[in-house]
């Protein structure tokens, strides 16, 4: 048994790795006007990976490779969602990338490697596997941010992202080494067992926990570890912002789940991290929403909105039971769906030499195109957490989880902050609907983007009216993966 390695649990990873390597090679032989072959190969790889994941869906958890990898239902669901999100990212950003000379093999390969990193992170059952995945993802993302190497803003953003990201990785490693010292193992399920027996060195463990929580907060972009978020979101090319703002959130959730709920989920450590997450959530929702008001750059505003939204994720997660994890996972799902639309709209409105990233660029959108204004309206109300959009149920579940865990005050702060947040989302709606357009050029959209983005917008509404399907999906996945 020990010798016969089971490759099935990591089949999606193998697919993505093979595809990334193949595309890297094939792209070398392609002339510039045939780049769409690499693009479609990337999409094909995502499709195959999704089919493979679906085919081998794990109802029960399976450990593989001497237990450094775990394939369970939550991993499958998160992987599937990541494939879907990355595929949409590629569809939405095609025109943008082409116009900026970024429609190249490197972009796709780096995206696939970032995805591979996320997949490894999602399926990690060992601190080192998790770290490996995190680094693979981060390094690919740093490179993606710096793709436009001739421009100042992306270079600056990439530098900041890299330096701060490396620091966070160091912090994470340090925290993991502490926990290793306390429990004598790096394996997530064994750490949990060791904590359950109560033999672990308590002081060392809590010390490590602080570092681990800090590193997770950094990756999520929670206050006070949020400094990189606005700069990276604003500086990166919008297509890459779209990527950073969406797909890695699933991986970040997996990290939260594997480390805090999986490894450090014993009652006493949970009490510790609940308190920490409460403070992070409090700071994130207030600071994120308040600072977002002052922004005139749409990408920067959405960056602060991300910070606030991650605060809500933590608010849900600190419930510390399946109900809380479901809330956090659903919130992430709702948030990614919505972000795809909001950043997708920026991409859709941009042209050659025009980024459409100032909030004033949305002025009078309703006159130019009532349909796109409506889609953006759905995204804004979803971010603001208003029914009948999916964002409402995200907020609702998160508040419910916080109140159930006894954090009524946090929930009250959460809704007051949401009120502040509603102001700047409403301002976007105001610009689109109440103001006259400055820019009256017709909006040119590729047919596939038009259908997918419209569908994506309508999904916000559909799941806002009938949210049981995504809720149930998150819940079942978590229960089957034994996160109670």
């Amino acid at each position: 048994m020990a010798l016969a390695l089971n490759f099935l649990p990591i089949l999606p990873e193998i697919v993505i790795l093979t595809a990334a390597s193949l595309i890297l090679l094939i792209d070398l032989w392609l002339p510039d006007d045939k780049r769409h072959i690499s693009y479609w190969l990337t999409q094909l790889a995502l499709l195959i990976a999704a089919c493979v994941t679906l085919r081998g869906l794990h109802i029960d958890s399976v450990l593989a490779f001497h237990s450094v990898v775990v394939a369970d239902m939550v991993a499958d669901v998160l992987r599937m969602l990541s494939f879907l999100a990355l595929s949409l990212v590629l569809f939405y950003s095609r025109t943008y990338l082409t116009l900026r000379g970024l429609f190249r093999g490197e972009t796709f390969v780096l995206m696939l490697f970032a995805l591979l990193g996320m997949q490894v992170l999602i399926t990690a059952n060992n601190f080192l596997t998790l770290y490996l995945g995190l680094e693979l993802m981060s390094l690919a993302l740093y490179a993606l941010v710096a793709l436009q190497r001739d421009e100042a803003a992306p270079a600056e953003a990439a530098m900041k992202y890299f330096v701060l990201g490396a620091l966070a990785s160091g912090i994470l490693l340090y925290g993991m080494s502490m926990i290793y010292g306390a429990t004598g193992t790096l394996q997530i399920d064994l750490v949990a067992q060791s904590l359950a027996t109560g033999e672990a060195n308590h002081a060392l463990l809590i010390f490590g926990l602080v570092f681990v929580v800090s590193a997770i907060a950094f990756k999520l972009g929670a206050v006070p570890y949020h400094m990189w978020v606005p700069d990276v979101y604003q500086g990166a090319p919008t297509a890459i912002t779209l990527l950073i703002g969406t797909v890695p959130e699933y991986a970040a959730f997996a990290m939260l789940l594997r480390l805090l709920a999986g490894a450090l989920g014993s009652p006493e450590t949970m009490m510790q991290w609940q308190g920490m997450l409460a403070i992070l959530a409090l700071l994130s929702v207030t600071l994120g929403h308040v600072v977002a008001i002052a922004q005139t750059n749409l990408k920067r505003m959405l960056a602060y909105s991300t910070i606030a939204n991650m605060g809500y994720v933590l608010m849900g997660f600190l419930g510390g039971d399946v109900n809380g994890y479901t809330a956090a996972m659903f919130y992430i799902l709702a948030y990614v769906m919505t972000s795809l639309v909001s950043f997708g709209m920026i991409l859709l409105l941009s042209r050659a030499g025009f980024e459409a990233d100032r909030i004033d660029d949305l002025k009078g959108l309703n006159r130019r195109s009532p349909w796109w204004a409506f889609v953006m309206l759905l995204a804004m109300f979803s971010l603001a957490g208003l029914p009948p959009t999916i964002g409402f149920y995200g907020k609702f579940m998160v508040l419910q989880s916080a109140i159930k865990a006894g954090y009524l005050w946090l929930a009250v702060v959460g809704v007051l902050a949401a009120l502040v947040g509603a102001f700047y989302y409403l301002r976007i709606v105001k610009l689109m609907y109440f103001d006259d357009p400055v820019d009256t050029s017709p909006i040119m959209v590729r047919a596939d983007t038009r259908w997918l983005l419209s569908g994506n917008g309508l999904v916000l509404l559909l799941f806002g009216i009938l949210p049981q399907l995504p809720m149930g999906l998150c819940y079942v996945a978590l229960v089957q993966s034994r996160y109670f």
Binding site: N366, P370, L377, F381, L386, P387, P388, F392, Y393, F396, L399, Q400, I403, K404, L408, A411, V412, V415, L416, A418, L419, A422, F423, L426, R427, V429, K430, Y433, F434, L466, P467, Q468, M471, G472, Y475
Partner: protein, 497 residues
Amino acid sequence: MTPYLSLSIWVPIVAGVMVLAIGRDSDARTARWIALAGALASFLVTIPLYVHFDNSTAALQFVERRDWIPYFDIYYFVGVDGISVLFILLNAFITLLVVWAGWQVITVRVAQYMAAFLIMSGFINGAFAAQDAILFYVFFEAMLIPMYLIIGIWGGSNRVYAAIKFFLYTLLGSLLMLVAFIYLYQKSGSFELSVWYDLPLSLKTQMLIFVAFFAAFAVKVPMWPVHTWLPDAHPEAPTGGSVVLAAITLKIGAYGFLRFILPILPDASRSPQVVAFMITLSLIAVVYIGFVALVQADMKRLIAYSSISHMGIVTLGFFLFSAQGMEGGLAQMISHGFVSAAMFLCVGVLYDRMHTHLIADFGGVANTMPKFAAFMMLFSMANAGLPATSGFVGEFLVILAAVKVNFWIAFLAAVSLILGAAYTLWMYKRVIYGEVANAHVRALHDLNRREFWLLGTLAVAVLVMGVWPKPFVDVMHVSVIDLLAHVAKSKLEWPSP
């Protein structure tokens, strides 16, 4: 059984979506006709709700209950009792008038305008019919979105400020209410209102939840001192927006008191502090806001303040805890639905011709618009609460109930009749009577056929309710008695063993 309630919710929404899908800016005619057909259909499906309504029971009728979000035990659960059924009819009726009223007036983005009203009408019906807290909340919040757009797109000069103020004020209250809902869910394991009615709660908890609910509903009513969004929103809203805002959305706030606050928190509601607090706020609204209305220079602002003052009578009636007071409050709500709609339509008629609603710009309108002057006379009298108009029924019942509680409360409430007469008739005098003020007034032409029938319909409603209120009061009587009996029962938590 035909699901009349679901039809009354979804027919207008579907009609609204159809208007959006088919109507184009270039072809306003089609949009108008589809909207009118949709509004008419929406009104017709509500009529069986009245015809087949059983007056003899307080139980929910036309109940529909389906699984909606099993994860949280949330149901699509709708039903009406004597308290809510009339508002659904009122809403469908007013929506029909609003679509009709915007016929020639709205020329920019007609399809969006009509669709916004139809969709909002469906949401409002949903809020009145919902028997599950989350279902209620979804409708309650969702109706903000079309209203925000209506004020913001078709409003006057200061419309953006008014729209955002309206939205944020209302949102603050409803978010706190959401927290209270979740808390109650934690306690009871259900979002069903009937479960919450029987849920024991300590007095302290009831008080805290009262604060949250009060924040949501008092803003919506609106009660003094959280009323300031209303006078800002009204002058900026288009006529149709004002009509719906005054006639319907304010009623949801007051309805919330009856559906949520009184039955879920009976002990908090009956506690001397809360009663004194509510009566004081109501009387301030009646008297102080009445005086404020007196000095307004803008007709729409004046009617907005008069709405706040009239809603003061409503909340006063609720917190007297007698059948008379409560029925008076409810009658006042329905009457105010007709009268305020009519008053705003009258102002709209003038605004369409002169593009102003400042009182000073008018004078001697009776000389050029005699038919209009006659209608406005009737509605002004109704607004002042003249006997034989609908305005009299509610105010009289509430004052009667107040006399039994305390003479001075009744005295102050009765001031509303005097003040109401003062500000309404004084405005009427300045606008309608006197010499023809300027060349614009001289050039006015009288009501056209559409406007005549519009105001005529409302005039009939006002008079019928004033002369023969029985059909209205009969519907609500049993439900009100039942509610009062429920409120009288304490549900303080038994000390746990």
